[in-house]
């Protein structure tokens, strides 16, 4: 089982969710986050004082998929989230040791 963490633009969330559901990935966790890679922020002015805002709103999406679904899931996410400009985000993959369904104690890939 593999975990995919994707940091994406908030405006792309709906498209990415739809793309994942379409390939059969139903479970996911969404967090509102702030961050930046190489994307610059912007300045705001209040009563003549300048404030740099460089922690930008992002969305972090976490899904755990069976090993044979990994490539399809990555393709779905990046396809839906890409605009081609700086700020599109990143995808990280890590190995998951175990998955357990709390309701009935199912373990392994059937718990996903």
């Amino acid at each position: 089982m593999q975990k995919i963490e994707a940091v994406i633009q908030p405006s792309k969330l709906e498209a990415v969710k739809d793309a994942l559901v379409e390939i059969g990935v139903e479970g996911m966790t969404i967090t509102e986050a702030r961050g930046h890679g190489r994307q610059k922020g912007h300045t705001e002015f209040y009563r003549g004082r300048e404030y740099s805002v460089d922690l930008l709103p992002k969305v972090k999406l976490e899904v755990v998929v069976a090993d044979d679904m990994l490539d399809k899931a990555i393709l779905a996410i990046s396809g839906a989230a890409r605009t081609g400009t700086i700020g599109d985000g990143k995808i990280f993959v890590s190995k998951i040791d175990e998955a357990i369904r709390i309701r009935n104690d199912e373990r392994g890939e059937i718990a996903l």
Binding site: E44, F45, Y46, R47, G48, R49, Y51, S52
Partner: protein, 455 residues
């Protein structure tokens, strides 16, 4: 001889004497009815005005200031204004009304009206002949409430609640009451209508409210020192939305503040109402244009700040100037206060957190001087019908009186505030601890969180 009596046709045998007596009685009854109608109109307007001025404090100023601070201090900031509504009210009833408006000397009232003795439903003809004295008292109370509340802007985010309460009680006694007495009280040194040595034209409180609060604010900001991290750590307003709502409530409420200062519902109230509105509008434009030029974009915060600056500046002038003069006063105030806030503050480096001095101190001083320029007897013949009032009408001498009023306000504010700060600091300490300041006033002073995200 004409038969002008509209009432009952003369009955057979009613003598001329009887008819004259009946007419005289009717006349007397009519006079009473007319006075009652006049009072009803004036009192209705004055009670509404009093409510409008209270609304300026709560929630107007509370929201305006609240939105400008960081979110960990929202409740603490609003509490400071709210506490004034409660504490100053009680103090006013007990003693400060008497000190401000009671009979006394040129500088302070006496104790004749403590516990509001003698403040009943009959008018005091020297103050306002057509409304109950209690209406006058409660209207003035709303001014006494908002004035100290304005000062809180200077020491936002770092003053102990307990110290603030003590400070404000002393300030109301030592600074506000004498200033109000001098400008508006019987025999006041600066009173333009009741025998002042230097008749200073201050229709609704440019000196009494804005100069005193603004200058005291500056003194407090300097004495307390800057907020932790200022100016390096960014501390932008946490909600310009709240400030926007507050500022709009201030604009509307200000009609009670200025037009209500006519103390009647007559034509002077109209003049003041119109001047107030025009001053606000021109100032919003003035600030916004200055900002647009200097920074490239006109901000919402700038527009509302400009409007407030204009309202401050028009306050002393409102019952004395024409609508066109009001536009000028507003425009000048918008630009000047903008520069005060963005250039002068940065140049001197003081942390007047919410620009109480930049807007109220500077705006009030400017407005008081401009009142001496633009005041016109055609609007308000305060020195007598046809007697020139302001500079442009031919009475340049009035500028001296205005300057004296402003100078006294500055001096009293500086001296009084310094003494009070020193005393309160020694007795209970003014500033919150570093830890409390980092945690925020909501938690450290009030055990609450303004915004509870976890639920």
């Amino acid at each position: 001889m004409g038969q002008a009596v509209p009432s009952a046709a003369p009955a057979a045998g009613v003598s001329q004497t009887d008819r004259i007596a009946a007419l005289e009685k009717q006349n007397a009854d009519n006079a009473v009815a007319i006075a009652a109608a006049q009072t009803a109109g004036d009192n209705g307007w004055m009670l509404v005005s009093a409510a409008l001025v209270l609304m300026m404090s709560i929630p107007g100023l509370a929201l305006f200031y609240g939105g400008l601070v960081r979110k960990k201090n929202i409740l603490g900031t609003m509490m400071q204004t709210f506490a004034m509504a409660a504490v100053i009210t009680v103090l006013w009833g007990l003693v400060t009304y008497s000190l401000a408006f009671g009979e006394g000397n040129a500088f302070i009232g006496g104790l004749h009206n403590v516990f509001l003795r003698g403040v009943g439903l009959a008018p005091d003809v020297k103050y306002a002949a057509t409304i109950p004295l209690q209406t006058f008292m409660v209207y003035q109370l709303m001014f006494a409430i908002i004035t100290p509340a304005l000062i809180t802007g200077a020491f936002a985010e770092r003053m102990k609640f307990s110290a603030m309460l003590l400070f404000m009680v002393l300030w109301a006694l030592i600074v506000y009451s004498p200033m109000a007495h001098m400008v508006w009280g019987k025999g006041g040194f600066l009173n333009a209508t009741l025998g002042g040595r230097f008749p200073c034209l201050d229709f609704a409180g440019g000196t009494v409210v804005h100069v005193t609060s603004g200058v005291s604010a500056l003194v407090t900001a300097l004495y307390l020192g800057k907020r932790l991290g200022y100016p390096k750590v960014p501390m932008p307003p946490h909600s310009v939305v709240l400030s926007f709502i507050g500022a709009c409530l201030l604009w509307v409420g200000w009609f009670g503040f200025n037009a209500g200062s006519a103390l009647s519902a007559g034509t002077l109230a109209t003049s003041a109402f119109v001047a107030t509105h025009f001053g606000a509008a021109a100032a919003a434009i003035g600030w916004s244009v200055a900002e647009w030029i200097r920074q490239g974009k006109p901000s919402a915060l700038g527009a509302i700040s400009g409007a407030v600056a204009g309202l401050v500046a028009i306050t002393p002038a409102s019952g004395f100037v024409s609508p066109m003069s009001a536009l000028w006063i507003g425009l000048i105030a918008g630009v000047v206060c903008y520069l005060m806030v963005v250039k002068v503050k940065a140049a001197f480096g003081y942390d007047d957190s919410l620009d109480a001095f930049g807007v109220h101190g500077a705006g009030g001083t400017l407005g008081a001087i401009l009142t001496g320029v633009f005041a016109n007897s055609a609007i308000n013949p305060i020195f007598g019908a046809g007697k020139a009032t302001g500079l442009l009408e031919g009475n340049g001498h009035q500028l001296l009186n205005q300057a004296v009023g402003v100078a006294i306000a500055w001096t009293l504010s500086i001296a009084g505030t310094l003494v009070i700060l020193f005393v309160v600091d020694k007795v209970i300490g003014l500033r919150v601890s570093e830890e409390d300041e980092r945690e925020g006033l909501d938690l450290s002073q009030h055990g609450e969180e303004g915004y509870d995200w976890a639920h």
